[in-house]
Assembly symmetry: C2
């Protein structure tokens, strides 16, 4: 499974491609940052993000794009830009028919470090170890993008099993929307 | 001046095209809503918004797109979807080189009703009167999109004068970044 992780942001949008399956060593195929200038107007910045993400999709052809789920509770000042950059990344993937998965920051931290409250340094250190890199990817946004991709690859089997169980349960029971009518013989 | 107003939203994205200049009667060229299903996944919904906005740009060829500026303070639950839909609208415009202007909800209300705290009914009533329509456009998102376009057309001369004054002031004074060095004769 090849996953492009995207840590969305207008100034620095982290991108990282990881290949592998849960339970086996993973391989990093590429990592980087799509940057746009804070001096540019918002529309141009979004076009910059689109071009950057398109270039990564063209080069690596991922099967899935994992994007950080943005919450409005945190960092009120920057959350709008983060939401807008994430929208562009999701749009680029969905337009090509590539599935998009969202993971919360604490899911990502828990997946790679064992703790949902891990700090940036811990995430960077675990990403470095898991992908057998020489040093933590810089900036932190690039490491976070790799962590998102790793999180997705590791969580995917559990998520798939859950979805299959739901579908099976749905198929085996009568729909609650259809009234059961007792017809006398 | 022909302006496409966009009241961003994932479920209902209001769109309205107004033509005219400040101080003269305005004309509505079109109004509508781009809808996406709440059952669809987020990526598909963003693709739906993109297709809808592209169709309006193709049909009306506006000179400018006016989008509501999204604040994170309000409606915390829906603000993420609003920010994401607005990003797609801005991206569609910027990709074609069409300038994007952002106006806050209170700027729009003040422009069309005289009060920044006007309610939806007052905005709808004034839009109906200003564009000489038979009835307020429904749903409210459509009326809000027209109000955004009207707001932009009316505010544009003042905004332009401000920008020109800034540019003139900047050109006439020495840059504060360059130290003034006194050379003895």
């Amino acid at each position: 499974m090849r996953v492009l992780g995207v840590d969305p942001g207008l100034t620095r949008c982290g991108v990282g491609v990881v290949e592998g399956v849960a339970g086996r060593p993973l391989t990093m195929l590429g990592v980087g940052v799509v940057r746009t200038s804070a001096d540019a107007d918002l529309g141009s910045r979004l076009v910059g993000i689109e071009r950057g993400v398109e270039a990564w999709l063209d080069e690596y052809r991922p099967e899935l794009v994992a994007v950080e789920r943005v919450f409005s509770q945190h960092n009120v000042r920057t959350v709008m830009g983060t939401a807008q950059a994430s929208a562009v990344a999701m749009l680029c993937a969905a337009r090509r028919g590539i599935p998009v998965a969202l993971h919360t920051p604490s899911e990502v931290k828990a997946a790679v470090t064992g703790s949902g409250r891990a700090d940036k340094a811990q995430v960077g250190a675990m990403v470095t170890r898991l992908l057998r890199l020489d040093a933590p990817p810089r900036p932190a946004d690039a490491a976070d993008a790799l962590a998102l991709a790793i999180c997705h690859i590791w969580r995917a089997p559990a998520v798939n099993r859950l979805q299959q169980a739901h579908a099976a349960a749905k198929a085996s029971r009568p729909s609650s929307n259809v009234p059961v009518r007792k017809v006398p013989r």
